[in-house]
Subunit: 349 residues, 2 copies
C-alpha cells in the first residue's frame, strides 16, 4: 500500500477563500479518498466550515494563523513580512516533509518567490517556471513559462524545454513528446537572440524528446507540438489573450442564439451538445498551474475560481505527486549532465 498523500492547503488565498478552498478540498477528497490535508489559515473561520463537512474534517488538520499574503503584495514584501502567513506555512509543510504537495489560490508572485526560497530549485534548474495545459485541436498541449520569469535567457528556455518534455511524458503519457519554441516565424533567423541560441542548443543536444523548432501563436491551440516553451512575459500575454478570445466567442455565440426566435429554438435542440462543449472548454477544467523545477510540488490555482476549479488544482497536484514528476525530472537532468560532460571535454581538447 502506498503511503497516503498529505496536501498542504493555503486556506486563505483566493477571492472566495476560505469557503471555496474547503469546498474544493471536499470535492478532491471524494475523487481521491486516500489523501489527507493540512489546512493553514484562520481557525475561527475554518472550524465552522469544516464542521459542515464531516468527511473532510476527518482527514483535515487545521493549523491556525491569521496572517495572509494580500493579493496585491509585492513578492519581496511578502517574502520579508509573510513568514507566518497561511501561504508560507503551507509551503514550509512541504519543505519539512509533513506534506507532499502544496496548493494555493493566492498571490502568484508571492507564491513563486516563497516556494523558490523555501523549497529551492532542482539541481540543474536555475529558475522554476509556471506551466499549464491548453486545449487544442488534437488533445492537450502544455505551455511554460506563463509568468514566473519575465525575462529568460537561452539556458532558462532550454531547461523549460526539458521540464516540459518530462511533464508531457510522465503526466500526459506522451511517449516521444515534441517541443517547440514560441516565436514570430518558423525561419531560423527570426526572433530574439535568446530564442535563436536556445534553438541552436536544443538542435545540438541528444534529447529524450523531439525538438520541433519554432512555433507561432496559432500553433498553441492547433496542437502542433506537445510542449510550447516561451518566456514568462510572452506566455502570460498569450494565455490571457486566448482566455479573452474564448470569452469573446462565447458572447458572440450567446448573441447569435438570441438574435431570433428560430435561432433560440435551434439552441434548445442543440443544447445537450452545447453542454458537452461547455464542459470541454470550461476554464475550471484547466485550473491548476504547476510551478515546475522546485524540490517539491507546488500548484497555483486561479484566484477567482470556485470550489470545482480549486478541486481540479488539487487533483493536478495529486497527479504530479503520483507520477513522481520531480524524480523523473532529476533523472533526466542527471542523464543529460552525464551525456554532456564528455562532449564538453572533447570540445576543450
Amino acid at each position: 500500500m502506498t503511503p497516503r498523500l498529505t496536501i498542504a492547503l493555503d486556506a486563505m488565498g483566493g477571492d472566495h477563500a476560505p469557503d471555496m478552498v474547503l469546498a474544493g478540498a471536499e470535492i478532491a477528497r471524494q475523487r481521491h479518498p486516500d489523501v489527507e490535508f493540512l489546512v493553514f489559515g484562520d481557525e475561527q473561520r475554518l472550524l465552522p466550515l469544516l464542521g459542515k463537512r464531516e468527511g473532510l474534517k476527518a482527514v483535515a488538520q487545521v493549523h491556525h494563523t491569521t496572517d495572509v499574503v494580500s493579493s496585491h503584495a509585492k513578492p519581496s514584501v511578502a517574502l520579508r513580512g509573510g513568514r507566518r502567513s497561511s501561504m508560507r506555512l503551507a509551503i514550509d509543510a512541504v519543505s519539512d516533509g509533513r506534506a507532499g504537495v502544496v496548493v494555493s489560490a493566492g498571490n502568484t508572485g508571492a507564491l513563486m518567490a516563497m516556494a523558490k526560497m523555501v523549497l529551492k530549485t532542482l539541481p540543474g534548474i536555475d529558475r522554476p517556471a509556471i506551466a499549464s495545459y491548453f486545449p487544442t485541436l488534437r488533445g492537450e498541449t502544455v505551455m511554460l513559462d506563463l509568468g514566473a520569469n519575465l525575462e529568460c535567457d537561452d539556458e532558462n528556455l532550454v531547461q523549460f524545454a526539458i521540464m516540459g518534455a518530462v511533464f508531457a511524458r510522465t503526466v500526459l503519457g506522451v511517449l516521444e513528446p515534441t517541443v517547440g519554441l514560441l516565436n514570430v516565424g518558423s525561419e531560423d533567423q527570426k526572433g530574439h537572440e535568446s530564442i535563436r541560441t536556445a534553438a541552436a542548443k536544443l538542435r545540438g543536444t541528444a534529447l529524450p524528446f523531439k525538438f520541433h523548432g519554432f512555433v507561432e501563436g496559432n500553433d498553441i491551440t492547433a496542437g502542433t507540438v506537445d510542449v510550447v516553451v516561451t518566456d514568462g512575459f510572452t506566455g502570460n500575454v498569450a494565455l490571457k489573450t486566448a482566455e479573452g478570445m474564448a470569452r469573446l466567442y462565447t458572447e458572440f455565440l450567446r448573441r447569435t442564439f438570441r438574435s431570433s426566435l428560430i435561432a433560440k429554438l435551434g439552441y434548445l435542440l442543440a443544447k445537450p451538445a452545447f453542454k458537452k462543449l461547455k464542459t470541454r472548454t470550461d476554464p475550471r477544467r484547466y485550473n491548476g498551474a504547476m510551478l515546475l523545477g522546485l524540490r517539491g510540488v507546488c500548484v497555483k490555482s486561479h484566484g477567482g475560481t470556485d470550489a470545482f476549479g480549486f478541486a481540479n488544482a488539487i487533483c493536478v497536484a495529486i497527479d504530479l505527486a503520483a507520477r513522481e514528476f520531480n524524480d523523473r525530472i532529476k533523472e533526466e537532468l542527471q542523464r543529460l549532465g552525464a551525456q554532456q560532460a564528455p562532449d564538453t571535454q572533447a570540445a576543450a581538447i
Copy 2:
C-alpha cells in the same frame, strides 16, 4: 471635386497572386469607383487577367517587371536584390508621388524594410509599426506593433501610443481614445523596464488621448481600451494566438453540431444567425495591416487571403488616405513637440 486616388499594387505578392490581387482590385473599384490603379508585375500574366475585367482595365495601368520578392527572402536580401521587384516599384510609385497608397500581400519583413528605406519615417517617429483591428465585445480595438519591431524601447512605445491614438480618432472616429500598454498585470511595478518607463512618460505628458495604464491579454478582446500598445514580438504572438483560438472554437462548434441528429437540426434552424456570426468574425474582414509612421500610406495584406480579403486591405488604404491620417499624425507630433519644448527649457534652468 477631390482628385482621384491612385493605388499602387504589388501584383505578385501573396500565395494566390496575381489573380487574387486583380480580383480584389475589381471588388475595391466597385466599392470606390473614384480610384485608379498602378499595377506592378509580370504583364504576360497580368494582361490576360485584366482582359477579363473591362471595368478594372479602364482604370489600371500595368508596369511590367518579372522580379518578385520571395516570401521567405530575408529583408536585407530583398533590400539589396529587389530593386526591380514588383513590391519595390509599387513603393517607389508612392515615394515619387505617382500613387497615394501602396498595397502588398508579399513578404512582411521585406515590405517593412523597403517602405522604411524608400518612404522614410515621419518626423518624430523613429520606427514604423504594424497596426491592425481586433474585434472586441464593444466595437473595435486597434493594436500595434504586430511584428515590425521585435524589440522596442520606451520611446518607441510612446510613439506607437501617439500613432495609435491618432488612428483611433481619425479613422475609427473615437473622440477621446483610451490607450493601454500591454503587460502581465495592472500594477505599476509589473513588466519589463521599457514598459514601465513608457508608462511613466505617458503619465507625465499632456496628451490628446487618455492613457489608461497597463492592460493584460484578456483586455484586447474585452475592448478595455481603444488602442493596445506593445512591442512587435508580443503583439505578433498575441495576434496569432487569438487567431488560433478562433479556429479552435470554430472547430469545436462544428463538432458540437455534428454530434447528434437533433444538434444538426438545431444548427439548421440557427443557420441564418450563424451566417451573421461568421460574417462578423470573418478574418478577411480584418485583413489589411497598416504600416504606421511612414511618409506614405502602406498596407500589408495577409499572404494567404483571397480576393475579398485583398479588397478589404485596399479599402483600409483608401480609408487612411481619405482621413489624411499622416497629416493628422504630423500635426499631433508637432503640437506635442511645441508643448514639450518649454518644459525641457524649464527643466534645464
